[in-house]
Amino acid sequence: MADVATLDRVVIRFAGDSGDGMQLTGDRFTTESIFVGNDFATFPFYPAEIRAPQGTVAGVSSFQLHVGSWDILTPGDQPDVLVAMNPAALRANLGDLRRGGLIIADTAEFTPRNLEKVGYGSNPLTDDSLAGYELHALDLTGMSVRAVEQFHLGRKDAARTKNMFALGLLTWLFSRDPAHNLEFLDAKFAAHPQIRDANKAAYSAGYHFGETTESFTSRYHVPGASLERGTYRQVTGNRAMALGLMAAAARAELPLFLGAYPITPATDVLVTLAEAKDQGVLTFQAEDEIAAIGAALGASYAGHLGVTSTSGPGMALKTEMIGLAVMLELPLVIVDVQRAGPATGLPTKTEQADLLMALFGRHGEAPLPVIAAQSPSDCFDAAFDAARIALEYRTPVIVLSDAYCANGAEPWRIPDLSTLPAIDPRIATAPNGPGDSFQPYRRDERLARPWALPGTPGLEHRIGGLEKADVTGEISYDPLNHETMVRLRAAKIDGIGVPDLAVDDPTGDAEVLVVGWGSTWGPIGAAARRVRVGGRRVATAHLRHLNPLPANTGDVLRRYRTVLVPEMNSGQLALLLRARYLVDVQSYTKVRGLPISIGELEADLITLIDTQEAR
């Protein structure tokens, strides 16, 4: 029997054809990780939009999982283990694998035809080109088919169980208890006993193959993580976003309304909320993004928490209506799940290049709060915060997520909703002006105007996109009034209380500060940790609020000799910080549709720090 080696973290990637069930396999392995108390982060990778022909590189689907004993911040960049169900999967993913990493490949699929499809001149499983790796070339398909023979499935269905065989093998390899998955399969296929039993058989066969074969010299064990005490679940960013919005509506005691038009990678926010009708959520799949935000604004006007969710192209279309929301000063949450652009771009890939659009992309002076989510589970908090600000300040708020947050998953300590702050929407119920009149633009101490809902007697009023007179809200063409209103709208946003920027500078004397926003949080944190492990000093700070910026931001920036701003764009936050604080921050940009590589960032940080010290 193989030895058991203890690892404190491991990155595993399952890769195969779109039809090979890699997402389910990954998901199940993640769940197993939960039961041993590991911390983790996952990242699914879907082929681009169209289903490509079977066996081609374009058709490869994969699922990456990073499990560990402590504080996992990202799904990792270099897998340690690659499960490749066919030559295309190997071809597409080998480049990422850590040198020396472990490969499990299904020999059954490495046919001359399949090899040719992806341009392999010879079979890499046999031509020694993988000598630098720990290769396990196994007939997963054949073994699966044999394992399920007794159930008399068609050849195709029988072969389809190979993902469970692979999962069983990995269960064994990582010293996990197969019981959980067997239970899961029982439940999942309860209605189809034949399929259930075949899958269970293949899974067990995989597990036993590990136990009996001598292929593997070592088994692994990743001890449980020391997560903060609490009850956890796994959550993706889009789901957390939807839950955060629901939580805010519940804490404000308002109904939630989502107007949306499907678009990758934001669609699942709509899907999750559409499934929450029993939570009082009304979703409207509109004819386009303009109608979606228009209806959400209408719903807000009528007293709901109006929300719209989309991605770049949809944001572009919503531009004009966001401007109207600024003028109407009504609550509205706009979720932008960023994807790689410009134009249609790379719809399934991640990027952070909508920041300046969110901040400045409207005609006229139309400031609004911008908030960024930094990880899948953090989408919950970002959404809650955005909704709170929208309701308390009567303003549209943009929440920036991205494809990486949206589709990635991680353990989430389930919040106790009753401990979340209550939100008081302060709905107007009585006249506020002279002679029992209602003045829709008389502001409160936060500079927010009253929110009077149709149906309330005595508060009848008209609002619209033309400039309005201060206090009364009547149409006004007066030049000085316009200036007053432009400044008031800006002052309201600038006055939103946001927490100070926290700096993580363990030694207290770092000279380099790394400032990030959004989903670079994971890679920056992980890279900084590695840099520190190497004995170097580095400080980090992460911006949740991009508008208004925390009051201490300038001070923080000026405290460090070098400020590095890693972004998945061409330097948008850097531009903002330079303009606001006149600090010569250095931009570190990667525009590849991928999360910033921890390894690369680590290396670059080390170079930077060492040059710095040498100066």
Binding site: L243, E287, A295, G298, Y301, G455
Partner: protein, 344 residues
């Protein structure tokens, strides 16, 4: 849901409203002689007659001369963006069954930039009353041809005559599956009142096209219809034979199914088409709409179609189950927690 009146669910006023109660304190700023004045008066009258509470009326408009409408109504109102009123109104209607939601729009607003929202509001059958002021011109921007301008219209942007074929809002609406379609004209107060009342009573999307004269940029566009000597308005009344003017009537060719105008005396009263606004098949309504000619010399007015069909906002709300206030947080907590948890 089984509500059948457009106003079911909207609370009634304790003391009936008068026209004046519905006028806001804002000075009305259309040009002298603008058809919008007459429509405003008629709408105020019609809304007062509905008997619902003022505060439960919401008027949403887009951008255009006509879209200034909400400012003149002492109700709730939103002057939104060019073409987008149906979108906002859909959100309002979905959110609140206790509101009577009206859309006021123009031919440019509704049929040019906003054409798609109109089509979708109609096909979904959202409980809205949509008043489309058709002056066949973009007035607010000072007179360019609109999607309803006749071919050959000379304007600043079509100095040699427009080459666009116009849209007919009535056939477009019928093609989109609209459940209530009507037409009126600014100068016929009684007709307007009738049609507005019927539209408000309809549960679902009601489209009312209102021919409106713009004396500044398209004066006289509907003059042919106003002539006392040769009446050209073909008044549609459900259940009544379609006759108009001096002994004219609408008849159907039994072979081709086509509708035509004939002298009743010549063809006999029996052959005159009896108007059936409730016909589930919109084909005859479509054929009637086609009696509108260009250059305009005659046009059917009144309710072309009024049929009962599932109502989008009612059905959407019917699927939503809001937990009791006392259980809301707990219910959500269950969802947030989900089925697969582990404890550290």
């Amino acid at each position: 849901m089984t509500a059948t009146s457009g106003l079911a669910g909207v609370p009634l006023a304790v003391t009936p409203l008068t026209r004046k109660d519905l006028a806001s304190d804002q000075e009305v700023r259309w040009c002298p002689g603008c058809g919008d004045y007459a429509i405003l008066a008629a709408v105020q009258g019609a809304l007062a007659d509905l008997g619902v509470r003022r505060e439960n009326l919401v008027i949403v408009s887009g951008i255009g001369c006509s879209s200034r409408f909400p400012y003149y109504m002492n109700t709730y109102g939103v002057h939104s963006l060019h073409g987008r009123a149906p979108a906002l109104a859909t959100g309002i209607a979905l959110a609140r069954p206790d509101l009577s939601v009206w859309v006021v729009t123009g031919d440019g607003d509704a049929l040019s930039i906003g054409g798609n929202h109109l089509v979708h509001a109609l096909r979904r059958n959202v409980n809205l009353t949509i008043l489309l002021f058709n002056n066949r011109i973009y007035s607010l921007t000072k007179g360019q041809f609109s999607p309803t301008s006749e071919r050959g219209t000379v304007t600043k942007t079509s100095p040699e005559g427009s080459v666009d074929a116009p849209l007919d809002p009535i056939t477009l609406a019928l093609g989109a599956g609209a459940t209530f379609v009507a037409r009126a004209i600014d100068s016929d107060r009684e007709l307007l009142a009738d049609v507005l009342g019927a539209a408000a009573g309809h549960r679902g999307a009601a489209l009312v096209e209102i021919y409106q004269n713009c004396p500044i940029f398209n004066d006289g566009a509907f003059d042919a219809l106003r002539r006392k000597d040769a009446p050209a308005l073909i008044r549609l009344r459900h259940g009544e034979p379609i006759t108009f003017g001096d002994g004219l009537g609408v008849v159907r060719d039994p072979g081709t199914g086509r509708l035509a105008v004939a002298r009743v005396a010549e063809v006999g009263t029996d052959r005159v088409l009896v108007h059936d606004a409730h016909d589930p098949d919109p084909t005859t309504a479509f054929a009637l709409a086609r009696l509108t000619d260009a250059p305009l010399t005659r046009a059917p007015v009144g309710v072309f179609r009024a049929v009962t069909a599932p109502v989008f906002d009612d059905d959407a709300r019917a699927q939503v189950r809001m937990p009791a206030a006392s259980d809301r947080l707990a219910a959500l907590q269950r969802l947030v927690t989900g089925p697969d948890t582990w404890t550290v």
